[in-house]
């Protein structure tokens, strides 16, 4: 386990060092109005939605699944909340809107779970349905407009501070809850068992379907909360662009964190590191002034490097070479 987390840790450290060299002020923290500001805080704040979605994705991937619909679900959550809030400024309306949005997300998770566990459709296809249709639903909800709101309680979710950004506090709280829920109960072990060998788990009496269903609902709720953060941060719901491609970032975060796409053993700490790497990378691109045209290429190079050093074959080749050098 420690070994699996070593490379993500090194990658994260390397990115941070790079930032320190290029922009020495990156690590500077200052307190203003009781809020913490600085490059690192930005990373945490902007990385909160990705981390949240990656947490849900980790459990889905551990059951041999994948959820492509999280970005669309995030957009729906933002749209529903903003439409419900409308021009209201009071906290009650904001909380009601968020509650409705999250319940709706849970229903969408049930739908994904039904397709995967109930009908036995391949997860990548099953969730592709909602990935494409979900944006349409969000468009319907917002009637094709970008809905802006002016509601301070809602704004706190994505842009507020409690010394640290509230969004990262929420994400870390969810991380803590998931860690407790999976490692203090038997849920984690059963999820891994289902992921490694679904048929053997069924014959051992594990409720495989219920477990698969549960992780899809959890992933959708995580996506919903992330959608609230994204929408709250800009006080607007954008059905087209909110959470766009975030499923890719989340999947990358999970994979970089050492959880195999083939299912089975997973690491929440790894996912946390993965999400931080992805976000630091995005921030780095801006701070070191990579031209916007090549941003994606730069990101891709870093991700490929991290994946390569994690791949057993590449690692074998590396260690083979170092052994050879040692001999000669």
């Amino acid at each position: 386990m420690k070994n699996r987390l070593l490379w993500p840790l090194i990658a994260l450290a390397a990115l941070l060092v790079l930032n320190l060299v290029v922009t020495p002020s990156f690590f500077a923290l200052r307190i203003q109005d009781g809020h913490l500001y600085g490059g690192l805080v930005d990373v945490l704040k902007n990385g909160a939605p990705t981390l949240l979605i990656a947490l849900g994705m980790t459990l889905v991937i551990a059951t041999r699944g994948i959820d492509l619909s999280v970005g669309a679900v995030a957009a729906i959550a933002g749209a529903v909340t903003c439409v419900h809030i409308g021009t209201s400024g009071d906290a009650g309306t904001a909380f009601a809107g968020m509650a409705i949005a999250l319940v709706l997300c849970a229903v969408l998770g049930l739908w994904n779970g039904f397709l995967v566990a109930g009908l036995g459709i391949q997860p990548i296809v099953a969730t592709l349905v909602l990935m494409t249709a979900g944006r349409g639903v969000a468009m319907l909800v917002t009637e094709g407009q970008i809905i802006t709101v002016n509601n301070d309680p809602f704004r706190q979710v994505g842009a507020g501070f409690l010394i640290l950004p509230i969004s990262i506090l929420i994400s870390l709280a969810v991380l803590g809850l998931v860690a407790l829920a999976t490692r203090k109960t038997a849920l984690g072990m059963l999820i891994e068992a289902v992921g490694v060998n679904p048929e053997a788990s069924r014959l051992a009496g594990v409720r495989s379907r219920t477990i698969i269903w549960t992780v899809y609902v959890f992933a959708a709720v995580c996506a919903g909360i992330a959608g609230l953060m994204i929408s709250s941060n800009v006080s607007a719901a954008d059905a087209n662009n909110a959470g766009l491609w975030i499923e890719m970032d989340a999947i990358l975060a999970v994979v970089i964190g050492g959880t195999s796409l083939a299912g089975g053993r997973y690491s929440l700490t790894g996912t946390l590191l993965g999400a931080l790497i992805i976000q630091t990378l995005t921030t780095t691109v801006y701070t070191i002034g990579v031209a916007p045209e090549v941003t994606l290429v730069f990101k891709a190079i870093v991700v490929i490097t991290v994946c390569l050093v994690q791949a057993p074959k590449a690692r074998a080749a590396l260690s083979f070479r170092s052994r050879k050098v040692a001999v000669s």
């Binding site: 203090k184 109960t185 038997a186 849920l187 072990m189 059963l190 891994e192 068992a193 490694v196 060998n197 048929e199 053997a200 788990s201 069924r202 014959l203 051992a204 009496g205 594990v206 409720r207 477990i211 089975g264 053993r265």
Partner: protein
């Protein structure tokens, strides 16, 4: 067998360690051209590891491999094959949806104008098949043939290249007697052509029938190399397990002394499933061992799966303690105290990437639900108890099950069900592919369980084992239950029934 030709393969001082396990320690091995060489040892003795070291799957930590006198170091099975070492594994590793010819020449298809020359491919395949005397259409799809023929195709694939060494890792475990004879005929043809054959099997009869020489391993170390003709069975068994065997006799005694007249625990009435097994009646009493005998495909496994609810019955009903049990799936069977060890350990039994501890408590945990984890203390004491009781090695609860040998995996699977304290334990081929020592331990365990009042349904392809261990034998043929014999039945009687002779006088009503 004279020793005049130099060995085609020579392995010297091979050592290999996996994390926590010394798999091979300073093992020497020789293989001569034109001989069948049996590699003998219990599960976990290092047979597979030695083979994988030879075929380039593993790289030894120390020691050298010489092929025809030259030192070689293969880094992949492909390289080994290019050098003339071909391997056929226990499970057929072919593409079922391709044709026989495509399978035989996969990866080395004859080319023409940049495409595959299918005509030449079929001709070449037919030639290879003819060499080993197998007459099937090279253009037919592989999965249209029975497993035994697929196995022969796998051998054809192995010898289609210039093959000096042929490794057969338990090729006979899923074949019937006639098919084994056919395989042996082919092995003799190849041997006479000068191919060196390395053969692994758990069936001693087969070893003595086909092999010329044997190497015995125990616990990763070399015990000795012998000419088969000079090694009698008793000596071989002692060499393999390192102790004298008294266990088998003890089991026989116990089966005779056992009282199998307890109350009926499970009663099946016209239970059946179309295409799997015809409706059957069956009583299983507490404290009784019921053996299921029949050929492969006779419906043994299908019957077991219906009783466990792994497949849904479409006729009949099942009563436990006289109460009808509606089987909606394995969970309801488990709740009624029924446990099922599948014959397919890897596919349907164990969760390979989890630890021994997790595998051991999986069924118990599943029954409790995710929200009530088995307390750590209970877990540890259970694990400790069963590691010791079943002699599971390595005795490290955190070892991943995938790293264990077949016999130890089987014991972990058994232990998983024993912790649930089942009232009926269904064992489908629990002793297949495992060594004599572990086999005796498992048979002993079954006897002990029955003595304590557990009902056991025991399925095995080895009739001798069924006859010895069971109080009652249910005979299946062509997916029908055809007879029930009492425990005193002889193997001949059972064989007669399976073969379709009318021996009905002794059938119990």
């Amino acid at each position: 067998m004279t020793e005049s030709p130099p060995p085609v393969v020579e392995m010297r001082g091979i050592s290999l360690a996996f994390p926590g396990v010394k798999a091979l320690q300073d093992v020497d091995f020789r293989l001569f051209p034109g001989e069948v060489h049996a590699l003998m040892g219990e599960n976990g003795a290092g047979k597979s590891t030695l083979i994988k070291t030879l075929t380039g799957v593993h790289t030894p930590d120390s020691g050298s491999v010489l092929l025809a006198g030259d030192a070689v170091a293969f880094s992949s099975p492909g390289e080994a094959q290019q050098a003339g070492i071909s391997t056929v594994y226990q499970e057929v590793n072919l593409c079922a949806n391709l044709t026989v010819a495509e399978n035989i020449l996969l990866g080395r298809e004859p080319r023409k104008f940049g495409g595959i020359d299918f005509r030449a491919m079929r001709a070449k395949a037919a030639e290879v098949l003819a060499r080993i005397g197998v007459h099937i259409d090279p253009a037919s799809v592989l999965e249209s043939h029975p497993i035994a023929v697929q196995q022969l195709v796998a051998i054809a694939r192995a010898i289609a290249v210039d093959c000096r060494v042929l490794v057969l890792d338990e090729p006979t475990s899923s074949l019937d007697a006639g098919e084994v004879a056919e395989l042996f005929r082919i092995m003799r043809v190849l041997r006479d052509e000068g191919v060196a054959i390395l053969f692994v099997s758990h069936f001693l009869d087969q070893i003595y029938e086909i092999s010329d020489r044997m190497t015995v391993l125990r616990n990763g170390a070399l015990v000795g190399e012998h000419l088969t003709a000079e090694m009698d069975r008793r000596a071989l068994i002692s060499a393999m397990i390192g102790r004298e065997l008294g266990t088998l006799e003890a089991i026989e005694d116990a089966s005779e002394r056992r009282d199998a007249s307890g109350p009926v625990l499970v009663h099946a009435e016209g239970l059946g499933r179309r295409g799997a097994i015809a409706p059957f009646d069956l009583d299983i009493r507490a404290g009784e061992v019921v053996g299921l005998a029949g050929l492969l495909g006779s419906g043994r496994t299908e019957m077991a799966r219906l009783l466990f609810g792994a497949d849904k019955a479409d006729s009949g009903r099942l009563l436990v303690d006289g109460t009808p049990l509606h089987l909606r799936g394995p969970r309801s069977a488990i709740a009624a105290g029924i446990a099922f060890c599948s014959e397919d350990r890897k596919g349907e039994g164990l969760v390979a990437d989890l630890s021994i501890r997790d595998n051991l408590v999986l069924a118990m945990q599943a029954a409790r639900g995710w929200s009530r984890p088995v307390p750590r203390k209970v877990k540890d004491s259970l694990v400790e108890k069963y590691l010791a009781a079943l002699d599971i090695r390595p005795a490290n609860p955190d070892a991943l099950v995938r790293t264990l040998s077949g016999g130890n995996q089987q014991k972990v699977l058994l232990a998983r069900w024993l912790v649930t304290e089942p009232r009926l334990l269904i064992l489908d081929e629990p002793t297949r592919g495992i060594d004599i020592g572990a086999k005796a331990q498992i048979q002993q365990l079954v006897t002990n369980l029955a003595a304590e009042g557990t009902a056991v349904l025991f399925i095995s392809a080895e009739l001798e084992e069924v006859v010895r261990i069971a109080d009652r034998i249910v005979v299946l043929r062509d997916r029908h239950k055809i007879a029930e014999l009492d425990g005193g039945a002889s193997i001949d009687e059972v064989v007669g029934l399976i073969a379709g002779e009318q021996v009905a006088e002794r059938t119990a009503s």
